[in-house]
């Protein structure tokens, strides 16, 4: 053992010095390299896995939203169709109603006109009759002026005219 120490110059002070040197290297590597690096590496992997999870969630949400979007589009279309048919129906209905009303009105107007015409016709006929009677009387008077002058004749004529008027 002594010869070993002699040959290799083993010196406890140097031994301790080298041990201290190694310890310094260890501490430096541990605190300046290993600790911060491993921390940041762990943080990063955590962050990456979290982002991947988030991305997955976002994708799922996107699909959900797309579905919703499609659904709402379909709904809207359906609603539009419904409204359109409703409007059409309403329009048709109101048209029918208007038509019926118009028809009725027209009928009423026609009736009124008819009645008016009837009365007018009757009036005209009456007037014509009066006029004709007057004419006939005048004519007959003129024709018979000379011949018939008597009171009975006059009465007779008047009676004839009255009959004819009826």
């Amino acid at each position: 053992m002594d010869s070993l120490i002699e040959i290799f110059h083993i010196d406890i002070k140097l031994l301790i010095a080298q041990a201290v040197n190694f310890t310094i290297v260890f501490l430096v590597l541990y605190f300046l390299v290993f600790k911060p690096l491993s921390k940041i590496m762990a943080d990063r992997s955590e962050k990456i896995s979290k982002s991947l999870d988030d991305a997955k969630k976002i994708e799922e949400k996107l699909v959900l939203i797309e579905d919703e979007h499609k659904q709402s589009l379909i709904d809207a279309r359906k609603e539009v169709e419904l409204i359109l048919t409703k409007a059409n129906n309403q329009a048709e209905e109101s048209r029918q109603v208007m038509l019926a009303k118009t028809r009725e009105e027209i009928g009423q107007i026609i009736n009124v006109e008819k009645a008016k015409m009837q009365t007018e016709k009757a009036q005209t006929l009456k007037e014509i009759k009066n006029e004709i009677a007057d004419l006939i009387m005048i004519t007959v008077e003129k024709v018979l002026e000379k011949k018939i002058n008597s009171k009975e004749d006059k009465e007779l004529i008047k009676k004839i005219i009255r009959d004819s008027k009826k």
């Binding site: 002070k13 080298q18 590597l29 911060p36 690096l37």
Partner: protein, 282 residues
């Protein structure tokens, strides 16, 4: 090695300068009664590099890594995978990783710094026993038994500390001085008489383990020292034969050896740590 004109031109007189490759690191100067050797200087240089790099890297560490951080993270991940195959669990690997990484970096830098031009070739000439001896200012840190012994002791002692902390003192003690096996003999002798033969063997194996621990230290120390010292001698010899071109392939070889030895040392410490922190299973 090559000449040392820088410091020795005026002392190159009658006797020839001895370029001797000593087995030990030579002292350059002394502080009090503490002699600073050339390998210690080299180690201080390693510390300086590591500290400078550490401070630089610390300021560069960001959530979104740059090229440097990316590279280092890649190396760390690679090493973690390799260590996982030894420890068997990520949790254990992360616990041991800082110390193993330190061994690896410390030894690797020391080995590679020993290959730089100027290390081993720039020095001073001292007069010793009427002989002029060339003493280089720098010497690879691992070509000094003090360094490797210190590292091996740290590694083995740390593995024992981790062992006590992980499996408890009683189990740890029974690995070496198997009191439990002795106590089991009267308990189980009626049920299983063969225990009378087996358990004394277990006790003896435990005692062998103590020698095993000493052997661990010795093997770690001399393997690293031997490899790096041999490399230095090899490159020096090749340089002595022909200084131009011939040492180049051997330099490449030494770069590889330096890496491999650092890796082997680190992996062996890791293995010891793993062994010590797992309970006895026979």
């Amino acid at each position: 090695m090559t000449s040392a004109e820088q410091s020795t031109s005026e002392t190159a007189l009658n006797t020839e300068i001895q370029h001797e490759h000593t087995l030990y690191a030579e002292p350059i100067f002394t502080i009090g009664n503490f002699s600073v050797t050339n390998s210690l200087l080299n180690t201080l240089l390693v510390i300086f590099i590591v500290v400078a790099f550490g401070i630089f890297l610390k300021s560069k560490i960001k959530m979104i890594p740059g090229k440097l951080q990316n590279g280092i993270e890649m190396v760390i991940e690679l090493l973690l995978d390799v260590f996982n195959s030894v420890t068997g669990s990520r949790e254990k690997t992360l616990k041991f990783f800082p110390i193993i990484l330190s061994f690896f970096v410390f030894i690797l830098l020391n080995n590679w710094l020993g290959l730089l031009p100027g290390v081993g070739s720039i020095g001073q000439v001292v007069l010793e026993h009427n002989e002029k001896i060339f003493v280089p200012f720098f010497r690879s840190g691992m070509a000094d038994l003090n360094t490797t012994l210190a590292l091996a002791l740290i590694g083995v002692v740390v593995s024992h500390i981790f062992g006590v902390l992980t499996i408890g003192f009683w189990k740890y003690l029974n690995k070496f001085i198997n009191i439990k096996a002795l106590l089991d003999i009267p308990k189980n002798i009626i049920k299983d008489p063969s225990i009378l033969i087996i358990n004394p063997i277990k006790v003896f194996v435990g005692l062998l383990e103590i020698i095993g621990e000493l052997a661990k230290v010795a093997s770690l120390t001399f393997r690293l020292f031997g490899n790096i010292f041999a490399g230095e001698v090899l490159v020096a010899s090749m340089t002595a034969i022909l200084a131009f071109g011939l040492p180049v392939p051997f330099m490449f070889l030494e770069i590889l050896v330096g890496l491999i030895q650092a890796f082997i040392f680190a992996m062996l410490i890791l293995t010891y740590l793993t062994m010590m922190t797992s309970a006895e299973e026979h």
